[in-house]
């Protein structure tokens, strides 16, 4: 079965500093991996996706993630945090018809 583990439930950064949200995956074959963002009381928005093309994936709003098979990781990064980045972030692995979500990482951005 495909699953993901988000290693931090909360991450706090200062505005203008780098963001790192960690995700490890477990999959018996080459997975499709995603990062979604959810702002308070809103639906989910796709940030980026990995589908076995380039291992470094660029997404919206300056986010990117690198697929590392040797480490079974798919960490999300951004060089410089903005106040509007404060939200809940979900690492997700595709399992056939369905998506398996991590428990989420809450990103706090302080001035």
């Amino acid at each position: 079965a495909q699953s993901v583990t988000q290693l931090d439930s909360h991450v706090s950064v200062s505005e203008g500093t780098p963001v790192l949200l960690r995700c490890n995956y477990s999959s018996s074959y080459s997975p499709s991996l995603f990062w979604y963002v959810q702002h308070p009381n809103k639906g989910l928005q796709l940030l980026l996706k990995y589908t076995s093309a380039a291992t470094l994936v660029k997404g919206i709003n300056g986010f990117e993630a690198e697929f590392k098979k040797s480490e079974t990781s798919f960490h999300l990064t951004k060089p410089s945090a903005h106040m509007s980045d404060a939200a809940e972030y979900f690492c997700v692995v595709s399992s056939g018809y369905a998506l398996n979500f991590g428990k989420g990482t809450s990103l706090l951005v302080t001035p």
């Binding site: 009381n41 809103k42 639906g43 796709l46 018809y97 998506l99 979500f101």
Partner: protein
């Protein structure tokens, strides 16, 4: 454009009352549709998915049910709500070729 509508946006219901949440999709035909629940402090849990009219698969046994009376309509129901049914309910549409899903704005359900 492809849009997902969910109604209502928020709902407060007493324990034991019935429930009906509606999801409608525009701009696509024969989509795969999904219902997820997000409880406080937890990730999303897949409840039901549907690959076509009248075709429903349940992922988690519980007091909820789903129906798909029309191609672009997906309904989540309950005959008697429990306190544990409180949460944020999200409808999603699948995009098979890329294994990704697009989500509606969600319904916040509070059971008192």
């Amino acid at each position: 454009s492809q849009t997902i509508h969910q109604w209502p946006a928020t709902l407060v219901q007493p324990v034991g009352s019935p429930l009906s949440l509606e999801c409608t999709v525009e701009g696509t035909s024969n989509p795969n549709l999904y219902w997820y629940r997000q409880a406080a402090g937890r990730g999303l849990q897949l409840l039901f998915y549907s690959v076509g009219i009248g075709q429903i698969s349940s992922e988690v046994p519980q007091n909820l049910s789903a129906s798909r009376p029309q191609d672009r309509q997906f309904i989540l129901s309950s005959k008697k709500l429990l306190l544990s049914d409180s949460g944020f309910y999200l409808c999603a549409r699948g995009r098979e070729a890329l294994n990704e899903q697009f989500f509606g704005p969600g319904t916040r359900l509070t059971v008192l």
